[in-house]
Amino acid sequence: MTTVRQNSSNAPAQEPPDDGSRGAWLLVAQREIVTRVMNKAFVIGLLVSLAVIALLAAFFTWQSTRVDTYTVAVAGSDATAVASATAAAELADAEGGSTELELLEVADDDAARAALSAGDADVWLHPGGDGWVLAGEGQPDSTVSRLVGTAVEQEVLAANAEAAGTTPAELSEGAALTTEALDPDAMGEDTLFFASFALSFLFFAGAIGSGMMIASSVVEEKQSRLVEIIATAVPLRQLLAGKIVGSSVIAAGQNLLFAAVGLAAVAVSPIAIALPALSTSLIWFVVFFTVGFLALAALYAVAGALASRSEDLQYTSTPMTMLVMGVYFLTFTASGSFLTVLSYVPVANVVAMPARVLSGDTSWWEPVVSLLILAAFAVLALLVSERAFRGALMQTGGRISWKQALRAEA
């Protein structure tokens, strides 16, 4: 029995014996990375992004540790007013918030008005009508109003209770409201929103930036016919692999850097309590992004191969750009069961699943399953892209369609 080995002579050898070109992808990847890192525009963009992240973090930290001091003017002769203002200041201290109150005793109403207009006092507490009035030059600060209001209410309540022959404690018995968190790790709504927005944005910036990088690097070689010289030296599969690996290393490295700076910022900020949950989510994000970007990089490489000149890129990369933008908008606006669905849909799950992990409502197996789906999609994208890449790369003259590329013989 004989074995017929079919070897069509008209296909350029894509499965060669090892002639030393096996490791070529490493050379290609190395060149991609070095070229990128030496690129001034890229380095400046990276530094600016890092500076923006650091500045934002510094701003939020400053904002949340800043203490505002308000001066409350009261007539020194009015015992209830003095007691209320003192109680309000104690209340502010007890809350430990960013508001502090100081007491300024004045002689009379005229002195109080003068202090307000001179800026020596921020608010003036005095009796008026059948209650109390807190006056400011403009509308008084809401936190100050709340603190003073509570203190006045307690003072008056105590006085009324005494008059009625009872105590404030008896009056308010059973009316206390305490709060408790069933899941102490659960995120506040705001933190969650900002975190998922940040994830979407990291995905968007990383995917578009590094995606266009691989596309333009492919078309640069195609336009200059360097690809023909390269193709005679190494199999195109090696070239594609090298480019994907090179741009993925850059994209993932960039996101790692952003994540590290972001986490460092969170660690020194008042929301440091969210650090463990954020770290888990970010680690998932980096893993998901790396796998997902393999697929995107392959598709963007085809976009480069379909173009004949760099001017064509705008057009040939449109489907990929739409996909990335769609993921960006969908994932940071989605919530509830829609978000749950998205967290399993390839590419969207790069953002959606880490966001769900952050909110703490996922079981351990969910990100794993989602990652497997993403990996399967990446493999499929790589296989299809490899064929289209080979089909399109050697065709010159005008833009090529996906269909033509996939049908081409070589």
């Binding site: 336009q223 200059s224 360097l226 010289i229």
Partner: protein, 295 residues
């Protein structure tokens, strides 16, 4: 001496046969010129020879055996309408392209520097390629093809855009490679250049080889014309049977003669009419042959 040859090489694009059963040889140690008008199929043929374009049918042979991917890896190749990485230093991309062909980095760097030095580009080795003049960029491109002692050279329009001095410099480089037995195939539009440089010539017309051989062989195979110089007006030769007068200018006529008998008849008639100062065969120039075969 290793010969590079193609047999019945054919490539179709849809219904169109861009290259139709093309066969020729580029023997080792020789410069073979590849000529033809735009769209004749030169580039398509060369791309198939390099394996850049798949072959519809036919075969490329190197040293008598079907060419392999490993063979092609040792060929030097200059594609048409080529360029380089604009924002990378010349030396870096020469080393990169050489390393892709399996040449160790250190050896590639040494060789690239030697080449650049010879071309007078040593001190510009670290300049970005986009800062070099077009002529210098072309020199860097040919260097990329010549790195690592290639076993064959396939060059698509290597001289386009070069001034005569630069052409001579590049030809000297190519001669060094033919001297060690390497086949060099290059395409060109410049017939005078091809005539001056080539030991062999292949002429392509609409995808088919219409002439192939040494310049002398082609000239012999071409239509031989005769010059007739009389002492009086030669207009009467137009009436002689078997004689095709290409050009008559006073006493001088350029004629094509059907056979030897016609030659004798023409001579006899001329002698009857007066004195014959000259009757001699005229070897056609390559340009003339080219026009004939591609007409």
């Amino acid at each position: 001496m290793t010969t590079l040859e193609v047999h019945d090489l054919t490539r179709t694009f849809g219904d169109r046969r861009a290259v139709d059963a093309v066969s020729f040889q580029a023997p080792g140690g020789m410069l073979t010129g590849f000529v033809g008008s735009n769209g004749a199929g030169k580039t398509t043929t060369m791309r198939m020879m390099m394996g850049v374009l798949s072959i519809t049918s036919g075969e490329v042979r190197f040293g008598g055996a079907p060419v392999t991917r490993a063979d092609r890896r040792t060929f030097g190749y200059m594609p048409e309408e080529r360029g380089l990485y604009p924002k990378q230093p010349a030396i870096d991309q020469l080393v990169y392209l050489a390393r892709l062909r399996g040449i160790p980095a250190a050896a590639a760097r040494t060789e690239a520097m030697e080449h650049l030095d010879r071309l007078g580009l040593a001190e510009r080795a670290k300049d970005h390629v986009e800062k070099l003049s077009l002529g210098n960029q072309q020199r860097v491109q040919i260097t990329a093809a010549l790195m690592g002692r290639p076993r064959a050279l396939i060059l698509d329009e290597p001289f386009s855009g070069l001034d005569p001095a630069a052409v001579d410099g590049m030809v000297d480089l190519l001669r060094e490679h033919t001297a060690r037995g390497v086949p060099v195939l290059f395409s060109s539009h410049q017939l005078d250049l091809v005539e001056r440089l080539c030991e062999r010539l292949v002429i392509l017309r609409t995808g088919e080889v219409v002439a192939d051989g040494t310049p002398a062989e082609l000239q012999e195979a071409g239509t031989v014309r005769h010059r007739l110089v009389l002492d009086s007006d030669a207009g009467w030769v137009r009436g002689v049977p078997g004689v095709h007068a290409v050009d008559v200018d006073g006493p001088t006529a350029l004629v094509e003669l059907a056979d030897d008998a016609t030659t004798q008849r023409l001579l006899a008639t001329a002698l009857e009419r007066g004195q014959v100062r000259e009757l001699s065969p005229v070897r056609p120039s390559l340009a003339q042959i080219y026009r004939e075969v591609t007409a």
